[in-house]
């Protein structure tokens, strides 16, 4: 069977360059150039000690009381260079095979529309990638580790559009 990520204008990039750099990038990433296991960020070190405590801000809470738990902090932040590195990983880890080039949506939902099935905070996106989700999203935590997942989170957050376009109209423009 067939399916293909359709790369649209806003997400077209040089995938050849990204793909060629991918393996090298992954190894350098995991070996330390982009956040080494020898000198981890404090947050990452704490997470490695046990499962991250994720508090789902979008979920309803009984009596309006949130469960206890420290929200994960993204050690990478919104650094554009790290977002670009995450974009390389997005191809190298075959994410685009399901979510489409630029995360525009294919088998998996769009990741570029600013809307999120399982929450759009950094911690929630981290949980989706690290642990997987029940409709076929694989758990990549075993392959990537925490240091590999955060740049992906930063990349995906960088795709969020300025405006949420809820309306598709066929009425002729005046």
């Amino acid at each position: 069977m067939r399916h293909l990520p359709q790369v649209r204008a806003q997400c077209a990039r040089s995938r050849r360059t990204r793909a060629a750099a991918a393996i090298l990038f992954v190894s350098t990433l995991l070996l330390g150039a982009c956040g080494s296991r020898n000198a981890p960020e404090p947050a990452a070190q704490a997470q490695d000690a046990g499962p991250p405590a994720i508090r789902y801000e979008d979920h309803l809470s009984a009596d309006g009381t949130l469960p206890k738990g420290e929200a994960l902090k993204n050690p990478v932040g919104a650094d554009p260079a790290k977002a670009q590195a995450g974009g390389v990983l997005f191809t190298a880890m075959n994410c685009d095979g399901c979510h489409g080039g630029g995360g525009s949506g294919w088998v998996g939902p769009s990741l570029a529309d600013g809307r999120w099935r399982y929450g759009g905070s950094d911690a929630e996106i981290f949980a989706s990638i690290y642990y997987g989700r029940p409709k076929g999203m694989p758990a990549f935590g075993g392959k990537l580790g925490t240091d590999g997942v955060w740049p992906l989170v930063t990349y995906l957050k960088s795709l969020t559009p300025k405006d949420d376009l809820a309306t598709e109209s066929w009425v002729a423009a005046h």
């Binding site: 069977m1 067939r2 293909l4 050849r16 793909a19 095979g97 529309d113 099935r117 029940p134």
Partner: protein, 596 residues
């Protein structure tokens, strides 16, 4: 709107029975055959997958009076490919994931359910299936409805009680295998295969025991001869291939992750005791990672149903570098070609050529383009190989190769089985008219994730319309007539002895047309796009009815105009090549029945 009246229908049924008995005035075998003519018990109606119904009450003179008599929401919104079955006044419907099986009582007003069966099926299948949550239908045999769950199981359900008789795991989700195809039952074997050409699976087909569901044989579609169930004394390919062809034609052992899924249909010739099926694309889409012919991907394979031994194989697209799967239906028909009777196999390939083969030997008799095809100028009948245009060859080192026709959605989608009428001697099929650019990149294999390596934006082919419906003469390789359609056309086809053919469109029209001229005789907007396959059956009142599903899907590009409405967290921009489709349809899941 009318409904069946049980009392009247009983009367008519008795009358029809007596009439048939008097007219036939012969053995019970003939009468059983007569009754079966009004049933639809396997995906393609018969073993040859002709999708031809001998019912003739609906004809070119009265088809304008067709109207809906019943409809039912399946409660599921995935692509409704496949078709219902009708056996003994019960209609069986399998939904897309979560693969609910409904049994409708056609003898009671409003067709209430006799039972429904809701299997436990993994939601993970949704993310591993490359191309939506589709199911391509069930087969009836030995009093059981047999079909595949998307998560790699085959189940047999008692047709009378709805109780599960057996369930067998046949595929491995964690390796990228899913199972949307419709099993075919040949005597005492259930033949099944798996999708996963986009996940680098080691493609296979299996024969299960009809009684127990036990896997009796597994044949790989590539790899060493032993894995492929190739024995030199039995395997006689029509064109030279050499020993271990499934391994020798793949550089660097790339066959191990080479794809070759089985997601289309299976046909069967009981006299030759051969099953016929197409294999899908080689993986990955970047052909430079798997140099060689990549046998036996994008091919037709003929095997013995009893033990799976490979008897012959023919490759439509050697070293496929366009995702031209060979999984389209193999229609078996006895034709007269150049004055000689031929046991033929006719196949509309994704690559834009229609092939007519001798189904006993695999020799190519006719090959001609039925759609705009520019990757090859012709198929050489002496060697069986395409004569290719070097400027349309793809690979990571070739950059973005533009203007390849057809697109990888196929000139005909393998999800859209054609039909053959022995009355008009013509084949009928829905077609696509699309081209593509193809930019291959190196892909890295990671088990259970996509293994693709190409971007392939589409555009409409010459003329601007993206679909159509054609009549085809397979003896001469000639198109007889064509109805143009604005959108890619993805339904299966039904041909009937009334010389009326039926198909549906992506923008939600269900149409009947004159089999000899193509003139549209009736059309009705069925509420959602059609990618299902119409069937004909005889109701308990003795009248002819037509059933079809509405609900588009089966390939994400069909939903790419953001026709989805069920997930607020998934909003997609309109695509440039099919931007208007969301104006005409949203998702759906409706079973329709039409009558006069």
């Amino acid at each position: 709107m009318s409904v069946f009246k049980p009392t009247a229908s009983n009367l008519i049924r008795i009358t029809a029975f007596l009439t048939a008995a008097l007219l036939a005035a012969s053995t019970s075998t003939v009468m059983a055959q007569k009754a079966a003519d009004g049933d639809w018990a396997m995906p393609g109606k018969d073993y040859g997958y002709t999708r031809f119904s001998p019912l003739s009450q609906i004809n070119a003179g009265n088809a304008a009076g067709l109207h809906p008599v019943w409809s039912f929401s399946t409660g599921v919104l995935g692509g409704h490919e496949g078709q219902p079955l009708v056996i003994d006044n019960t209609m069986y419907v399998v939904t897309p994931w979560p693969n609910v099986l409904y049994a409708f009582d056609l003898k009671s007003e409003g067709y209430p359910l006799l039972w429904k069966y809701r299997p436990a099926v993994s939601p993970n299948a949704l993310g591993v299936a490359c191309c939506d949550s589709v199911n391509r239908g069930a087969s009836f045999a030995d009093g059981r409805i047999i079909y595949n769950l998307l998560d790699g199981h085959t189940v047999a359900v008692d047709a009378a009680s709805g109780r599960q008789v057996w369930s067998t795991q046949i595929a491995d989700l964690s390796a990228g295998e899913t199972t949307p195809m419709a099993p075919l039952v040949t005597k005492d074997r259930v033949i099944v295969g798996a999708s996963g050409g986009e996940f680098g699976i080691y493609g296979w087909i299996k024969g299960l025991d009809l009684k127990s569901g036990q896997v009796l044989w597994t044949a790989r579609n590539m790899g060493p001869d032993a894995d492929m169930l190739i024995r030199p004394d039995i395997f006689k390919p029509p064109y030279d291939s050499g020993p271990d062809s499934g391994r020798q034609t793949w550089a660097n052992d790339s066959w191990k992750t080479g794809g070759a899924p089985v997601w289309g249909s299976v046909s069967y010739d009981p006299e030759l005791d051969l099953i016929y099926y197409g294999t899908g694309n080689p993986a990955p889409y970047n052909s430079e990672q798997r140099l060689g012919d990549n046998k036996w991907t994008s091919s037709v394979l003929a095997r013995r149903s009893k033990d799976g031994a490979l008897v012959w194989a023919y490759q439509f697209t050697p070293h496929d570098m366009w995702d031209f799967d060979g999984t389209g239906t193999m229609v078996l028909a006895d034709l007269v070609i150049a004055g000689k009777p031929v046991k033929a196999l006719v196949h509309f390939d994704k690559n834009g050529f229609a092939y007519t083969l001798d189904r006993a030997t695999g020799h190519l008799l006719v090959a001609a383009p039925y759609a705009n095809a520019n990757w090859a100028t012709k198929i050489d009948l002496a060697t069986g190989r395409p004569v290719m245009d070097p400027s349309k060859q793809t690979g990571a080192s070739k950059g973005n190769v533009k203007g390849i026709c057809p697109s990888l959605e196929g000139g005909v989608s393998p999800a859209s089985p054609p039909a053959y009428s022995p009355k008009t001697h013509l084949f009928y099929t829905a077609i696509n008219n699309m081209c593509m650019d193809y930019a291959a990149v190196r892909a890295a294999y990671m088990k259970g994730t996509p293994f693709i390596g190409a971007n392939t934006p589409y555009s409409a082919g010459a003329g601007g319309q993206m679909g159509g419906f054609i009549a085809w003469d397979a003896g001469t390789g000639r198109k007889v007539w064509e109805n143009k359609e604005p959108f890619p056309t993805w339904s299966g086809t039904l041909a009937t002895a009334g010389d009326v053919v039926f198909y549906g469109t992506l923008d939600g029209w269900f149409k009947s047309a004159d089999a000899r001229t193509g003139k549209v005789l009736s059309k009705f907007k069925v509420g959602s796009g059609v990618v299902g396959n119409p069937i004909a059956f005889r109701g308990p009142d003795g009248k002819q009815y037509i059933a079809v599903y509405a609900g588009p899907g089966g390939d994400w590009f069909l939903l790419a105009g953001d026709i989805r409405s069920d997930d607020p967290a998934d909003v997609r921009p309109p695509t440039d090549f099919i931007k208007d489709i969301a104006r005409h349809t949203s998702q759906g899941g409706i079973v329709w029945i039409f009558g006069l």
